[in-house]
Amino acid sequence: MRISPALILESLRHSVRETFETLSFSEITGWEPAAGLPPLDDESSIGAAIEMRSPRRGRFMILLNRVQCAGFVETACGPEMSGDGMVQDYVNEIANTIVGRFVTALSPGGGPGMIGLPEGLDEGRVPRAIRRTDVSVRFLVEGVPAWCLLAWDRRKKK
């Protein structure tokens, strides 16, 4: 189905803003399309990817600052819940919420949006589908750079 690039960008921006405001009480600024891929092998980054199945197939990836996310987890869940596993779980939930809101916004007439389960990205490991991006956006979470990427599935339906 045809979805306009303007609707895609606006829906994505809205989903990202709403998710961060609610899950981390943080403000999103500096939203701008970016050229190419972010520094994916940077150890200071932590990311999550998730498959989109409907209304359009593709893959979403988000890349955030690891230290900043650890701070968000500690604030939201308390120091007893912090740790690498919890930070990754938090980033996965950020991705899950953003993509859920995003596909819902793209679903015509409130039809069902479908997504997969989020998966954490090991350092430097990038899903093959995301190495070619259709949408790459850089934004700031409380002034700290972050990226989200979309790659649409170009395979034809059988």
């Binding site: 709403e18 998710t19 405001e21 609610t22 899950l23 987890v73 939201a76 869940c77 819940m81 919890m86 779980d89 938090y90 996965n92 939930e93 899950n96 919420t97 993509v99 859920g100 809101r101 596909v103 819902t104 679903s107 007439g109 409130g110 039809g111 069902p112 949006g113 479908m114 997504i115 997969g116 389960l117």
Partner: protein, 126 residues
């Protein structure tokens, strides 16, 4: 009055967020139990039923759809109110879920007041 609350979500972060929202709107004295998927939730229910179930839809092993169907088909559990908290709750899906016996559908990201209203509505109905 809701005392035993079962939270079902594969994300520990989401479970904690839901719990914090509930505590913020007056459920801080409740008995919270948590499960990471529908299968675990059913095991907990068999140990002790809940007064209300808050469940995600998109989970591994047993997703929310199957879990809700199992609960609503169970003579022992079918009367337990189920509230769905999901990031992919479209208007159409919400109608379908309510037709399956779900009491309310709440969109993620969650806000304390929305969850309070959903739980207050359960008290009004009961």
């Amino acid at each position: 009055m809701v005392k035993r609350i079962l939270i079902v979500d594969d994300s520990a972060t989401a479970r904690m967020m839901i719990r914090r929202c509930l505590e913020a709107v007056g459920f801080d004295g409740a008995d919270f139990r948590e499960a990471a998927n529908g299968r675990e939730a059913l095991e907990l229910l068999h140990e002790e039923p809940a007064d209300v179930i808050l469940t995600d839809m998109n989970m591994p092993e047993m997703d929310g759809r199957v879990f809700i169907r199992r609960v609503k088909c169970s003579p022992r559990f079918h009367a337990i109110p189920v509230i769905v908290i999901s990031s992919i709750a479209t208007v159409e899906e919400a109608k379908n879920l309510q037709g399956d016996g779900v009491s309310a559908v709440i969109n993620k990201p969650l806000s304390p007041m929305v969850i309070r209203e959903a739980l207050d509505a359960l008290d009004t109905v009961s």
